[in-house]
Structure formats: structure tokens, C-alpha cells
Subunit: 175 residues, 2 copies
């Protein structure tokens, strides 16, 4: 799809048909993630793709409180891998950079899913300790987002946005 | 451009022709930013568009150490506006969310610029205090990224990425 159209086609989908998604689709989503801009090209990220139904069932209510997540075909757990960036820039700055890098990757993932007619949702608020123990995530990684993905069983409108003039200030002249 | 192609066309551009960019182009970039997924649809961001040549000249070396930034047609200063999210989720979680939200917006901005044949670069490492005083940024906002944008005077290849298999683990079966 044209990027200009995709910007408006992407929206948070929280209800899925349950139809499986293919390895090729997951690969396209992950490939998009890895193409994200990122600090020093360290690619400080790692992605768990939970495709096992029994494992998906365990996400709610332990990792995430709402039930709809169980209908996802896969749940991608986006993890930050802050080691190298923290070594170079210190803990505070490095941590900030991995948060930005993994968010850039997540943005691309959601666009790639929408580009294939799939839907997903960015979940930032979840129990990261339980997520870690469920997936046996090593201590060097930090889970930062859950992205359930599937075939949309709803087509909500994209939520309205403030107009550009309200969230920006131009300094100087533009024609 | 097709999103699939745009993912590979986008790369960090650090040299510009100096040719001006138009208000319509800046508006398209900001419109893309506002379409980013974001926590609670609070749209916790604000964008300063520095188009004034004298002001752009002041960015290096005070705000950012390298000289090339002066050749940008505009510098967009991406700011987080954490108030509402910190109120709802507390300081630590809210701050994490605005970092993700502004990173999602920045990702869309760079894709939109590349979609129009423009180039830009995500600068996360800069002197935020000097940026704040130069632009007179109010205390409720926090500058999180500089995005110099202009007409590319270079076409470097996108830097190579690790293959998907190296940065992911599938749990379960995918076909």
C-alpha cells in the first residue's frame, strides 16, 4: 500500500477472527521491524513470536489483564537489548535510546501488519515480570511491548488526531 | 511510495543541498507524525519546526556537536509532553510511554520525508538544556530528538541489518 494511505489505514485492532497468520507474514513484520532507524545501528532489540496457542492463552490475565489478547494469532514480545548502548552512553541515556529504538521497530511492525490487511495493537502496560518468567527471557533483555497480531474482526476508525497547527510551532518562514 | 519499498529507501541523510523545503512538505511530515500510534491517544508530543536560517546556524556546536546539521532546510525538534501520561501512570511508566510515543512519531516523520525524496536523520544525543534555552521551550515539554531535514546531497546505502532469524525466536509452529 502507498505509505500515505497506510498511515490512515493503521489503527489499533483488539478483536481477531482467530484465523492463523503465516510464517511469511510474520517474517515480513519482523523484517520491517529490523529496518527501523536505531542508535548506532546496534539493533538493540529482540523479538519473541508467540505462536503456540496454549502459550498465548497464558498471557491473560497474568501478563495482560484483558481477555481479547487470547484471540491473537501471534503475540510478538518486543524486547530491548540495552547492553551495548548502555556501555557507550551510560545507563540513563542508553536506556532512553533502546526505548526509542524498540518503539521505532514496533511502529514499523504495526505498519507492516496493516499493509498486509492484518491488525495489531501496541500494548505498553503489562506485567513484565510475569512476561519474563513465562517466556524465560534472559536478564540482558527487557520486554517493552506486546504486539498481538491477527486477522481483524473489527474495523474501528482511526482515532482522531489534533490538527498539526495545534501540536507544532514554526520558527521562521515556510512557503 | 509503496511501504515495502519505503522501508529500504529510508536511511540516515547527513548532507543536504541547502535547497528549501516547502510548507506543504513540512505539513505532510508533521501529519505523518501525528498519525503514529500513541498511549491513550493523548498525543503527548509537540514539534518545533526551525526554518529560520540564523536559528539553524545556532544549533552547531551548541546543541549538537557536528557541523553538517547547519545545511538542513529545517530542524524539527521533537518534544515529549508527559503531563497527562505521568498523571495517569506515574512518573516512571508515563515517561517511558512518552518516549515510545515520540519515537513512533519520529519514525513516521522520517518515512514521510523519504517518501517525498527528502532526507533526514534522527539525532538522540544532543544538549537538551541548550536546545531548551535556544527555543525557549517551556518546562512542561522535554526535547527528545532533533530531526534535520532537507534535500539529500548524498545517497548512502541503508546500513545492513542482522537477519530476522538472529534477532527473533518463534515459540510454536508457523507455516
Amino acid at each position: 500500500m502507498e505509505f500515505k494511505d497506510l498511515l490512515y489505514a493503521r489503527k489499533s485492532i483488539r478483536n481477531f477472527t482467530g484465523e492463523p497468520i503465516t510464517k511469511a507474514q510474520v517474517d515480513a513484520i519482523l523484517e520491517a521491524a529490523t529496518r527501523a532507524p536505531n542508535a548506532c545501528n546496534f539493533q538493540s532489540w529482540f523479538f519473541y513470536v508467540v505462536a503456540d496457542k496454549a502459550m498465548i492463552e497464558k498471557f491473560s490475565p497474568d501478563v495482560y489483564s484483558l481477555d481479547w489478547i487470547k484471540k491473537a494469532s501471534v503475540i510478538i514480545v518486543v524486547c530491548a537489548d540495552p547492553g551495548r548502548l548502555e556501555e557507550r552512553f551510560g545507563q540513563r541515556v542508553g536506556n532512553n535510546f533502546v526505548t526509542q529504538d524498540t518503539a521505532a521497530a514496533t511502529t514499523n511492525m504495526l505498519l507492516a501488519a496493516a499493509d498486509m490487511g492484518l491488525g495489531g495493537c501496541w500494548i505498553g502496560h503489562f506485567n513484565d515480570d510475569k512476561c519474563r518468567s513465562l517466556l524465560n527471557i534472559p536478564s540482558r533483555l527487557r520486554p517493552v511491548a506486546l504486539v498481538p497480531i491477527g486477522h481483524p474482526a473489527e474495523q474501528p476508525p482511526q482515532r482522531p488526531r489534533n490538527p498539526v497547527e495545534k501540536v507544532s510551532l514554526v520558527i521562521g518562514d515556510l512557503r
